[in-house]
Amino acid sequence: MTHPLSSCFCSCRVNRGGQAENSLFSLFRGSVHLWKIDRMLARYLPLLQCYGNFMGRTTIIARPLLASNFSTNGTTSQDANASAQSEGRREEQVSSSKEDDVKFKIFSAALPLVHQLGWTKECLEAGAESIGFSKSSHGIFEHGGTSFVQFFHRNCNKELRKIAKVEQIESAKSDELTKVHQLLEKRLQMILPYLPQWPQAMALMSRPHSSLDSYKLLYELADDICFFAGDRSLNATWYTKRAAVAGLYITGELSLVQDKSANCDESWQMLARRIEDLRKVEEFGGSCSRQQEILKDIAQSSLTLIRNLTGMQSYQRNSR
């Protein structure tokens, strides 16, 4: 049978099995290899994620490293290199805002029930029922409890941004670390109402399944806090600051979960002490850069000295 592409038989060659093949046939064999690689990934990728999670949530993987697609939010890109993610995104964009609305409604209805039912699918079911949706609309949260907690985190981050804008923290007169402290406290206070069930939420977010999303959420939280605290640095301190803030958030969260003092005072005091430590580190860094300039001067003057001693200086001057 003829195939339109059969005319594209090009560069016949003999493969390892001794058969004559063309490049199209070898592409087909390649696709079988792709399938095998796909199966291998399916088996081993969850284990790799597990290993990454074993290193602890304080290990911050630069999530933006993995994200790189050209399609912009809302515009249909004719670019032939549209990735599979953006493909799915485009299909879902049409109904995404509506979906978000429904999701938020079910989420808000389910939150008060977390105390009785925990961060689970049952809680979402009960929440959906209480506002008149069918029980099975909990499925809008694809992975049940995990998606519930993810949505909660995302919502809290959104609230934090709103608070930062409303209270105009950015333009306040206090220094950066004070603002970081303020924002961190506000964000940690958002989990206080759900503290008894928070260990369950933390466990759900620590799973390999949700590790990527939890790192992404943490990165975005740290970025937002640093930005609204007024950090406009564009060098290595960008990374160190965000790492510090992310670490502080996790420490705060862990401390709150096991805090037995009244009003969780111990945790807030611990947070204040950590901020003071950061302040001392900053001062030390500042003094280091001042000393760096002194070192530069020393280096320059010793070079001049060597040139004088070896006669290079006068040689150059005379030879000109």
Partner: protein, 232 residues
């Protein structure tokens, strides 16, 4: 397996295929078909289906990468001129010229700083590395002589101009109105870098010792740096 099945099995990721079955001419952009086991990874996306970051910036990840690498490039150029000045200041006739070019690079960096902050772009993680490498390149080329310093400038500026032209082309192909501000910034920088390139040639860069080899090596290094800084 027969030929047609073979064709259907192997889908070219990202290419556009026309389905002519039943007389319809439907264009379909092929996406990588994930196995059922891996599909859950794709489904386990962020709850809002869009990157959260895109909610408060209006430019795509690729433009983020462009700004990142441009910022890193201007920072590197600053450090190269700093290295050259450290060696040649007060001992060369072109010191004033190099200082002038360095001042222009400082302006470029300021432009990209503002754009980075405006769009909340992450700076490259290799900043400390470019801090040192740029200085060493500038100082090293200046130690070899004034003409070698000019040759280094010529090589670096040539690769930067090429890179900016590539970016301008990409942005123009995507959406010129949307990226107008960024394109204007890149154009300004590109024109001044071209000036630096021509100045370097005027000042006798081609008479430097091993001009061709040095420029080739520097251009390769610049290409690698650009590729790295876009992602990292």
């Amino acid at each position: 397996m027969c030929y047609e099945q073979a064709q259907l099995k192997f889908v070219h990721y990202g290419c556009v295929r026309t389905c002519v079955e039943g007389g319809s001419f439907q264009h379909e952009t092929m996406s990588l078909r994930l196995s059922p086991a891996l599909r859950h990874l794709r489904a386990n996306k962020f709850a809002c289906n869009n990157c959260l970051r895109k909610k408060h910036t209006k430019i795509s990840d690729e433009v983020h990468g462009m700004l990142r690498v441009d910022h890193a490039g201007e920072f590197g150029a600053n450090r190269i001129y700093a290295g050259q000045m450290a060696v040649l200041a007060g001992r060369s006739k072109s010191a004033a010229l190099i200082q002038h070019m360095w001042d222009q690079e400082k302006e470029h960096k300021k432009i990209f700083d503002d754009l980075m902050v405006k769009h909340r772009v992450r700076p490259t993680a290799l900043m400390p590395f470019w801090h040192i490498a740029g200085f060493l390149l500038g100082a090293g080329s200046a130690v070899l002589g004034e003409k070698s310093a000019m040759a280094c400038t010529v090589a670096v500026e040539a690769s930067i101009v090429e890179h900016y032209n590539d970016q301008l082309r990409k942005l123009a192909n995507d959406n010129p109105e949307k990226h107008a501000e960024i394109m204007a910034a890149i154009k300004k920088c590109r024109d001044e870098e071209q000036e630096h390139h021509d100045t370097g040639l005027d000042k006798g860069a081609e008479q430097a010792f091993l001009y061709k080899a040095m420029t080739a090596v520097i251009k390769v290094g610049c290409k690698a740096a650009i590729a790295l800084s876009t992602k990292v």
